[in-house]
């Protein structure tokens, strides 16, 4: 079995990153100009609280600012906040905003804007809901000061406020943040480094951002979503190109400057073109999932679910789904392998495939031969590949498989159905998450055991819920690590889901583009065009 261990992979990725970044940083950065960017998807929804779509999150990083940011080493650092303090008992947080913060409509940013924004975010986001459940009060003290008073102990308050992925707690004016969290905001006014040009927005074609002239960046060097957001561009134009070949040709011809996510099979050609280069902006990567439906037979039986772990061969999945070993790695664990809570505890079953044991577990589960409905998403290449591997392995383990082909949108509707598979429901689906969303238990939907309140598949594992609560109440890192290990052991023993490895998506750009930062979303400050 070909494999790339984690250390080798990270060393290679770091070397490649250093090689691509070194020359861009060495050049003098020029101010001004328009950057033309091909985004990963079409921006249709503008409200970062209403939806979790990554494209909306990415758009929001231009338009909005956050109280705290996450740097490239995953450390939370103040962003809109100038200084903050915690009471001795750890129950009261006080934040003071920086001077000079202004909304795009010219009004100053007030503490009340931030408290309203936090309240709206706390109604939607998983981490935000956990924080809300432990919070007694969020309130402004004066124009620039706000406090968050806990009702019960909550360790990762700053991690929640600096959360890098959807839903990010972006700040909005209070009048906009007053919109119900179940309704989309109508006005797009942020205090971020770029202003959204609504008149030039054409859904399905382009989004335009212009420099926010009044933005006051921090003095520190930029790092991830933290540090000084110094804007060097006058304008950023996002284009949506559904056809990868067109985007590739446009990049080569110089009609665009930066292509966010080229398909992996386009990358070798891009790397051979003298005027172009690639870069791994998110060293955490992306994690693939095989999710059983816990509501219906056969996977309402623990032994049948454990057969899914026994049959797992991550290398086989990654080869079929991603294909280029340079861009994937096995990762036997539920938490991102480059994240702070990576552990191998309880993951022995994921390290080595054991089909014999899988067959034995299927027998012991009392499986009656009914077809297992596997959702086969055909319009997303890597999910299609994963589903085909699952069919092979399930068959080898002794299941009868019914592969149901559908497009992604249909899959979204099907996966929400709790009906039995023969009435439109499902048994197994495949999906993926950015590693930032599976870094720790408070953001990781796969380790939730909340039954009807859990992510699709609805595992009911009360121990997991208790451990997650313990995790967010823990205030020291060693205790949190210990709890994360326990969570992983139970999640894999109960088979909440089965991870099938991690992969990395390079970004491609012309060599005259400088200063692209490492982060889970494309960032446009610090970027210039020579």
């Amino acid at each position: 079995m070909r494999s790339l261990n984690r250390r080798k992979f990270l060393a290679g990725a770091a070397a490649a990153t250093a090689a691509t970044l070194a020359p861009t940083r060495a050049r003098a950065q020029k101010s001004g100009g328009t950057l033309r960017f091909v985004a990963q998807a079409d921006l249709k929804i503008l409200d970062p609280v209403w939806t979790t779509a990554y494209i909306t999150r990415n758009h929001s990083y231009l338009v909005y600012d956050t109280l705290f940011g996450t740097d490239e080493k995953l450390q939370v650092r103040p962003q809109m906040v100038d200084k903050h303090s915690v009471s001795k008992d750890g129950m009261k947080y006080t934040f003071t905003l920086r001077d000079g913060l202004k909304w795009h409509d010219g009004q100053p940013v007030m503490a009340e804007d931030c408290t309203e924004s936090l309240k709206r975010w706390m109604k939607k986001d998983r981490f935000g809901r956990l924080l809300a459940a432990h919070t007694a009060r969020v309130a402004p003290v004066d124009r620039k000061t706000l406090t968050l008073e806990l009702g019960e102990r909550f360790g990762p308050v700053l991690e929640a406020l600096g959360k890098p992925s959807s839903n990010v707690p972006f700040m909005m004016p209070a009048r906009i943040a007053a919109t119900s969290a179940d309704e989309q905001i109508k006005e797009i006014v942020g205090s971020g480094p770029f202003r959204f040009a609504r008149d030039e927005w054409q859904p399905g074609n382009q989004v335009v951002y212009v420099k926010h002239a009044d933005y006051v960046p921090r003095n520190e060097a930029p790092s991830g979503s933290a540090g000084g957001k110094k804007v060097l561009l006058d304008k950023v134009i996002w284009r949506y190109m559904p056809d990868a070949a067109t985007a590739s040709a446009a990049l080569a011809a110089g009609e665009i400057d930066w292509w966010e996510i080229p398909p992996i099979d386009f990358v070798p050609k891009i790397e051979q073109t003298a005027s172009l280069t690639t870069f791994l902006p998110d060293p955490l990567g992306t994690q693939g999932w095989l999710r059983p439906n816990h509501l219906h037979p056969p996977f309402n039986n623990k032994k049948a679910r454990q057969a899914l772990v026994a049959m797992m061969n991550q290398e086989m999945y990654l080869q079929a789904a991603i294909g280029v070993p340079k861009y994937y790695r096995s990762c036997p664990g539920v938490f991102a392998c480059a994240g702070p809570y990576a552990t191998k505890a309880g993951a022995e079953g994921l390290v080595k495939q054991n089909l014999e044991r899988a067959r034995q577990l299927v027998k012991e589960s009392g499986y009656d031969g009914r077809p297992v409905t596997v959702v086969h998403v055909t319009d997303i290449g890597f999910l299609s590949g994963a589903a085909l591997v699952t069919r092979e392995l399930l068959t080898a383990a002794g299941f009868n498989v019914d592969l149901k082909a559908m497009d992604w949108s249909t899959n979204l509707a099907v996966r929400a159905k709790k009906d039995p598979p023969d009435k439109g429901g499902w048994n197994i689906l495949h999906t993926w998450w950015m590693a930032a969303d599976v870094m720790h238990p408070a953001v990781h939907f796969g380790v939730s055991g909340a039954g009807p309140g859990a992510w699709f598949g609805w595992p009911e594992i009360p121990q997991l819920e208790k451990l997650i609560t313990d995790f967010v109440r823990a205030t020291d890192q060693p205790r949190r690590k210990q709890l994360a290990e326990e969570i992983q052991k139970i999640a894999l023993d109960e088979v909440a889901y089965v991870p099938w490895g991690e992969w990395f998506l390079p970004t491609a750009f012309r060599k005259n583009v400088n200063g692209i930062l490492k982060f889970i979303a494309p960032l446009f400050w610090n970027v210039s065009i020579a």
Binding site: I45, N205, A249, L412
Partner: protein, 313 residues
């Protein structure tokens, strides 16, 4: 004639009503749910249910139809579930691209297809005829996306004469406008060029055997005069019909061309809306496009009368 046109215009109303109902019904039996797409990956079943209620998707089918038709009658095509923009605004943003693309493609198709069809009929059985037929068959056999990429590779990437993708409105300058439209229009036109050339040839062959054409040649009229003024005019009814159908097909065919050349047209708007199940956008676009089809058919029927005075309604 005017009365007939008015009668036909009135007749479009029930036609559009049926189209509207059919589109609405079809969408609602198609699997998929915009609420789950909006809700995203983190949504719980309760979140999805709340979104469905807010969008009115939990209402009975007949209630949803009645609400939508009520709005359409008042000229309101609704609002995109995702972007929150009025469907009429979205169509307005995209219509110019598709109209220009279709007109250019039709201009090229007719400008090349009709003359070569006439020449092929006039020189029936010659190498010229065979060459035209080979070209015609190749033209409508070629996949649009494939031809598009070949043209991009040759004229945009290798030669660097034309842009790879995108649309430039007339306001950005005539040069930029034309340079962005040439390759997509050429790509789209090749299929219909072949179709029109074959139809023109077949129709002309039927006319060229007529006695009055023989007489015209015998009188010593120039071949161009006989072919264009006498033969082509008489042979034009089937050609006009195929051009009318071609317009409708071009609007449909623009989907692929718009994707290959990243043009912000109605075709891509429709496909994107279908992928996301953005019902108001799909319904609005299909209604407008159906209206255009009906109008094109009306124009074709009027042209019959103009071209052949024997036809009366």
């Amino acid at each position: 004639m005017l009365a007939e046109v008015l009668r036909r215009l009135l007749a479009t109303i029930p036609v559009m009503g049926v189209v509207a109902l059919a589109v609405f019904a079809l969408l609602h039996v198609t699997p998929g749910d915009p609420a789950v797409i909006i809700a995203g990956d983190y949504a719980t079943t309760d979140d999805i249910a709340r979104i469905r209620t807010r969008l009115g998707l939990d209402q009975p089918f007949h209630t949803q139809v009645a609400i939508w038709l009520g709005r359409v009658v008042r000229g309101d095509l609704g609002t995109s579930i995702f972007s929150g923009l009025p469907v009429s605004t979205l169509i307005g943003q995209r219509a110019a691209t598709t109209i220009w693309l279709t007109l250019f493609a039709m201009l090229i198709s007719v400008g090349v297809g009709v003359p070569i069809g006439v020449v092929a009929a006039w020189r029936k059985g010659s190498w010229l005829d065979r060459a035209v037929m080979v070209f015609a068959v190749s033209g409508f056999s070629m996949p649009t996306f494939w031809l598009g990429f070949i043209l991009v590779y040759v004229f945009a990437i290798t030669a660097g004469w034309l842009p790879v993708q995108g649309y430039a409105p007339l306001g950005d300058g005539v040069g930029s406008f034309f340079s962005h439209l040439i390759l997509p229009a050429l790509t789209l036109s090749v299929v219909y060029m072949g179709l029109i050339a074959r139809m023109t040839r077949a129709s002309m062959l039927g006319v060229l055997d007529e006695d009055y054409i023989r007489t015209a040649f015998a009188k010593g009229l120039a071949p161009s005069g006989v072919l264009v003024r006498h033969a082509l005019k008489a042979a034009s009814l089937p050609i006009v019909t195929i051009i009318g159908i071609g317009f409708a097909l071009l609007i449909g065919g623009a989907v692929v061309t718009e994707s290959v050349f990243a043009l912000p047209g109605l075709g891509r708007l429709t496909v994107d809306a279908i992928v996301r199940r953005d019902y108001p956008v799909i319904q609005g676009v299909l209604l407008v496009v159906s209206g255009v089809y009906v109008m094109i058919n009306l124009v074709v029927d009027v042209l019959y009368v103009v071209l052949d005075p024997r036809i009366r309604y």
